[in-house]
């Protein structure tokens, strides 16, 4: 062991310039991100910084390689009578220390200056391309150096062996990832490759057959370069996380606000060259400062809808992920939107591969502890925990499922019609059963207490209705019947109605009665009596956007008829409605983005004191629900 430490000390001394270079590069990164330079210059600087680190890794790896091969078998060290295993261990130890030091020094300047608001100025780098380029360069250099060193058949055999080992390790890693044994990330893969190469390299060196020199040098280099690449990817990720802000979003798609209104998450596509399967950036921001940003692999157009937990802390979505040469894999991703920490999504592969066009529906419990997958063919799967382990599967369900933190509610066909069955979230045990009046179910809204639910159900060929279900007693009674099936004028407005429980036990429902034009809002007392009715002459309405930001106040988003909308320019005003008396006031200054569709606006939420929403231009606006005044949230 003393020999290994001596070798490690020697190698660290040899490569002492590398940490200094890393510190320089990190400082340069910090300076560039603070510069008031044109965006193009910053992008160019970002690109240079992205490339210089992998190139440095390549040069360092090649340097070790060349020197070790020059004298046949690391002649200086071996001629001193050092056992091969300690030479090898010493170099590996040095590589670890060096990579960690270099990473720290590269990152430190950026971390230190990060709190300054100006750092939200973007310096964009394409992490994936840089990482792929690095790996290709390393592989190419590795192979060429080995081939040139292979002077005999035995050495050549070791070259082939090392290439085979590398390929095997890569395929094995990818397979493990596909099987769900590895949480996916570039860093994890590189790390896994390094770990497996360590084992394979140790075996090759200890095996000690002819050509040990090439094996030794190959694997030593692989470790150096692999670890340097790991540091590079981490550093670049950090760079991206720290430098891309909400202003970089080409098209904000979704947003979610924490219940307290302290922070907002935006999901959108980062501006840049169009690429197929471009991952979407998930950005979390708050107030005037960017608190964290990160990427999540959200493939637009292939994945399903995103869902958020009620506390806004968790976000999940199904997605069909594709890897070159290995096909596609349907997975569910879960990401914690935790302020101040990088966003890292966890993934779990799906057992029942769906079609690309029919991804499963997802439900998250209010706290995000549980997840429900409703597969297109009716299978319902409950998952729990941050590791998304499967709790149970239920094959007798229908294509609908909802959950709270303790229970899962599924719809199934029973002897007396449709049944709303309550199952335990953890064990899947059947707890309660309620027979519904309708044949199908579109939405289920649970009361905060969990004992009551509003079910919007449909009848074949007939009108839809909203039922209030007492889950404890197993009773359902119609609350509002005769609703239109609610195919909006644009066809994608979705449900017939939306409901919400009020703080006093009442219920408010926005629906579209049959035979009428426009929509109607009805508030019901706890005993089901109608409290008030409010007709809305809007030909379009976003029924999801109702709620009670504070007791007694509702917010409703409605759309005006086309002529008025054109005059205003913003055709989606916000109405504030008194929950007690139904008196409505259209806010003078508040509006919602005109091009919002149901698919993309659903996570609109409200805090206790204010409502946030995103404009088409990527701005985030704060809306006072009582006065209707709005102000733009400064985002760095």
């Amino acid at each position: 062991m003393r020999d290994a430490l001596a070798v490690a000390r020697l190698e660290l001394r040899e490569w002492r310039a590398l940490p200094a270079l890393a510190l320089g590069a990190g400082t340069l990164t910090a300076i560039v991100t603070r510069m008031d330079a044109p965006a193009d210059l910053k992008n160019l600087a970002g690109l240079i910084l992205s490339v210089c680190w992998p190139v440095a890794a390549l040069v360092a790896g090649a340097g070790v390689f060349t020197r070790d091969l020059r004298e046949g078998r690391a002649a200086f060290l071996c001629a001193r009578g050092l056992p091969m295993r300690w030479v090898w261990a010493g170099k590996l130890l040095a590589a670890l220390v060096l990579a960690a030091t270099a990473w720290t020094l590269l990152s430190a300047p950026v971390w230190l200056v990060m709190p300054l608001p100006r750092l939200s100025v973007p310096v964009r780098v394409d992490v994936e391309r840089v990482a792929v380029l690095t790996v290709l360069l390393i592989g190419l250099g590795h192979w060429i150096a080995l081939a040139s060193a292979a002077r005999g058949r035995r050495l050549l055999a070791d070259v082939v062996l090392s290439v085979l080992l590398l390929s095997t390790v890569t395929v094995l890693t990818m397979w493990l990832w596909f099987a769900g044994a590895l949480p996916w990330s570039t860093e994890t893969t590189v790390l896994a490759c390094c770990a497996l190469l360590t084992v394979a390299g140790a075996a090759a060196v200890i095996r000690g057959r002819g050509g040990r020199s090439a094996s030794y040098a190959a694997f030593t280099t692989a470790h150096w370069v692999g670890l340097a690449a790991l540091a590079a990817v981490e550093a670049l990720n950090l760079h991206v996380i720290r430098s891309v802000g909400p202003d970089d979003l080409e098209r904000p798609l979704l947003q979610v606000v924490s219940p307290g209104g302290e922070w907002v998450s935006l999901v959108g596509k980062v501006a840049g060259p169009p690429r197929k399967s471009m991952p979407t950036l998930l950005v979390s921001v708050t107030g005037p400062d960017v608190i964290n940003t990160g990427r999540a692999s959200f493939w637009e157009g292939v994945g399903g809808d995103l869902v958020f937990s009620q506390d806004g802390r968790w976000c999940a979505w199904p997605v069909l992920e594709w890897i070159a040469g290995l096909g596609s894999q349907p997975v569910v991703r879960l990401v914690e939107l935790k302020p101040g920490t990088p966003l890292r999504s966890r993934r779990t592969p799906l057992d029942d591969p769906p079609d690309a066009d029919a991804m499963p529906g997802i439900g998250l419990s209010p706290s995000g502890r549980g997840m429900l997958l409703v597969h297109p063919r009716g299978r319902i799967e409950a998952l729990a925990g941050e590791d998304l382990r499967t709790l149970w599967k239920h094959d007798g369900g229908d294509a609908a499922g909802f959950l709270d933190d303790d229970n899962v509610f599924i719809l199934r066909r029973g002897s007396g019609g449709r049944e709303l069955v309550t199952l335990g979230l953890m064990a899947g045990d059947e707890r309660r059963k309620v027979t519904l009046g309708g044949d199908g179910i579109s939405r289920l809204v649970l009361a905060p207490t969990g004992s009551t639910a509003l079910a919007l159900t449909g009848r074949k060929g007939g009108p839809w209705l909203v039922e209030r279900c007492d889950l404890a007693r197993g009773e359902c009674r119609p609350l509002w019947e005769g609703l239109d099936e609610a195919k909006g004028s644009e066809g994608d407005w979705g449900d017939a109605a939306e409901g919400a429980f009020l703080s006093d036990g009442g219920v408010v429902i926005v629906g579209r009665p049959q035979g009428t034009v426009g929509w109607e809002v009805r508030a019901f007392e706890p005993d089901d009596r109608v409290r008030w009715t409010l007709p809305l002459p809007a030909h379009r309405l976003a029924p999801l956007l109702i709620g009670e930001p504070r007791p007694g106040t509702l917010i409703i988003q409605a759309a005006l008829p086309a002529p008025e909308a054109e005059q205003i320019g913003w055709p989606h005003p916000v109405y504030v409605v008194g929950a007690a008396d139904g008196k409505v006031r259209r806010t003078e200054t508040a509006f919602l983005p005109p091009r919002m569709t149901r698919r993309w606006h659903c996570p609109f939420r409200w805090g206790r004191a204010a409502t946030y929403f995103a404009g088409d231009d990527g701005a985030v606006w704060r809306l006072d629900p009582e006065t209707g005044s709005r102000d733009r949230v400064p985002l760095g």
């Binding site: 020697l10 046949g72 071996c78 001629a79």
Partner: protein, 244 residues
Amino acid sequence: MSAAEEPVLSFAGVTVAYGHRIVAEGLDLDVSRGSVFALLGRNGAGKSSLVRCALGLQRPGKGRALLFGRDSWRHRASLLRRVGFVPEEPGAPPASSARQLASFCRRLHPRWDGESFARRLEQFGVPAELRFDRLSRGQKGIVMLALALAPEPELLVLDDPTLGLDAFARRFVFEELVGELADRGTTVFLTSHDLAGVEAIADRVGFLSAGRLATAGSLEELKQRHQCSLEDLFLRICQEGEAA
């Protein structure tokens, strides 16, 4: 055979080949304790390959190289602690100074003679604090020689040690240093193109030609048998090898 009589270095049927090119075939050779053996041959004759085989840095295609009676490939680590080696190309970690290299080697060798190391550097004006890659070719050679000698090895292996050395340093290596080591009983195995220097110190020589050991024996005996100088003998063997 007692330990004292046992050859320090032996080649037993050693064959070295690179692809289809055979540089040594079925080579048998013994270097007895306390002798100074010079292996001579033209460029590319395979001398450095045999040196690497002797030190366990390269595995022979056939046969075995033995150090102190043990297979050098299988027991390299333990055997090389008793050997000093100066390679043909002085290679050492380039960013380390001679003093740092000595500090590294001192940990590995219990009988490290730091004073003699410093004295030899001083004698040739080699700066001890300068990075290895900034030294001249000759200075690097001196550092490697000093590193090889400081542990007081039982066997000193020199692969063309005077390459790039000035006349003063060459004279030191051949007439004083190796002579002194030989007087102390240290076995020396060297390859060199400096025939005059070899003639001054070697007691046994071997000629490598066309992949075979053309002849080997006592230097004085060979000179008497062929009635010529070492250089003439070398040229004659080379010509015979080419003709064959």
